[in-house]
Amino acid sequence: MLLSALAPGAAAHVRAVSTESGIVLRLREMGLRPGALIRMTGRASGGSRIVTIGAARIAIDGSTAALIEVEAA
């Protein structure tokens, strides 16, 4: 499933990101690496998603969140 479709509170493992390598790299630098355990914290204004990785929290815009494939944990 896609990260953008993950329900608030749900946990998942990152599987793959399908976009240009520069953005993939930035996402990985921010912790969204294949296998990483994440939790969907919620949806923000403008369609952005708030995701928790470990104790860190990041916001990703809706269209980028729709490029990230995850597997429910």
Binding site: L25, G42, S45, G46, A55
Partner: protein, 646 residues
Amino acid sequence: MTTLNNCHETGSPATLSSATGTATRAPSVLLVGNPNVGKSTLFNALTKARQHVVNAPGTTVALAEGTWRTDRADVTLVDLPGTYSLIARSPDEQVASDAVSDPAHDLAVVVLDATALSRSLYLLGQIARAGRPVIAALTMVDLAEARGLAPDVEALSRVLGIPVIEANGRSGKGLDALGAAVSSALETPPYVTGVTQRGTEEVIGDRLTDAQELFDWVEAVGDAAVPPSVPGATFTDKIDRVLLNPWVGPAAFLAVVWGVFQLTTVVAAPLMDGAARAVGGPIADGLSAVLAVLRAPAWLESFAVGGVLAGVGTVLSFIPLMAIMFAAVSALESTGYLARVAVVADRAMRALGLDGRAMLPLIVGFGCNVPALSATAVLPHARQRLLTGLLVPLTSCTARLAVYLLLAHTFFPGSAGTVVFAMYVASVVLVIGWGLIARHTVPRDITPEPLIIALPDYQWPHLRTLAFSVWTRVASFTRKAGTVIVVAVMALWLLQAIPVRGDHQIADVPVADSAYGAVAQGAAPALKPIGLDDWRIAAALVAGVAAKEVVIGALAQSYAIDDTSADAQSTLGEKLRATVDETSGGHAGAAALALMIFTLSYVPCLATLAEQRRLFGWRWTALAAGAQFTGAYLMATAVFQVGRLL
């Protein structure tokens, strides 16, 4: 590049530039870390007041540099821009990346955020790979502890092979230990183990594979030092549920911006007036009295009071305003709210290729453009700051409102309110229009990157850090923008004081016979296409460069109306109406609208220009002013030419 002298006598003689030079310099230590990891708080706690702002070599990226008195020696500490990676995506990140690979710096202190350790470790890994000696300061341990995720400091130090010191800039914890670690590291440089060293530019294979090697190392270090845990929702998450809520979020953001706007207008106004009144009243009287005792000639007194002191007074009156703005920006930044602004306003600003945070300076600009320019500091990327800074002068500040009011009441007495409102709409349209033009022309590499931003935990602002930050920025404004303002006000005085015809003494010249009047008379025919070919209007526009509200005073002066009572205002209106009726060939309404449009955007005021120069340099300031003037002239011409046909 610019190297500035220290603004404090206690400062160290070493600067970024001298780091490449003399043998007797203090060792240079870099403070590197992700954004929002408590790096600047640490910097302030370590250097106290012994700090100042410098530009990174060849850039407009401002860095704080200070002297750190460790147990053994003084070192120069440089607070680099926060970055997640040495693979730079903005000029600010490039500055950090360049500094790290510059051998002129002796040591890097990498700030590791205990709440986002793997992100911090990745940056540390990149620095280690560049082969630089490094030690680590671990911050935010209390926050990580609260979530059962506190790293084991000893295990971390062991697995990394470098000293790791738990430090807290707020409480002062661990600062002495950090100092001691730095002194030892300067004698015996420590290097991270487990990472293969190589240059920063050298990439093996593609970037992703290359980074993967570091990610694997980060995972291994994390496994050794961090307890495994998936934390639940925190206090910050609960606040975010409100502040980032699709409905409440934008309203909360507007409330915050409204608060900043009120601070820079309502709260700052009496302080600005007070400063201006003190300079214009008691100080000016005192100076006149002293010059009278010294039997100074009348022109000298006029120059001292009307030129030098007026310039100094302008700068002084801006200082409380700037201090308030800097404090507001620093507070928003240190609470962690600013990162949320980037999320909330993302959609709205994205169309202009701008970060959501650009909304803040652009709204503040409607109060006053000068602090709005300073507020561009909220943007983490130099090009974003530049583009926003070039758009700020198009936001219609309150000084321009005074001009609209006079013109609207004079020429559109029945619908003055609508006309003034239309000017604000025009201002917003101009910002969007110029923003789109600039996005597709000038700074070409502003592409709307996806929004991927870390949201730090909410924290109370740290007052000491805030005070230092306000102090260093106000000092920089006063020194760099202040001098330009004083010189320019003196130049305007000269123009008005020098007689070019008739038999007049210097500094006792009727406006029409001064150099200023001559310039206006020369320039007036250029206003013909706008229907405003009159030297008094041209003169008022020239004076408006000093400050927009001066336009009205300058008109009154040219029409030789002395007092500023309500009667005089309506007299001025009548005289102006008579003039414009004549110059516009009976289309006074169209010409008045054109004049308002022209006033809105023909050129930023002196203080705005000086602040733009401080932030972006002369070249951009001149280019933007030129483009703005041309645009204003063409628009005003179009408004008049179309308007008179209707």
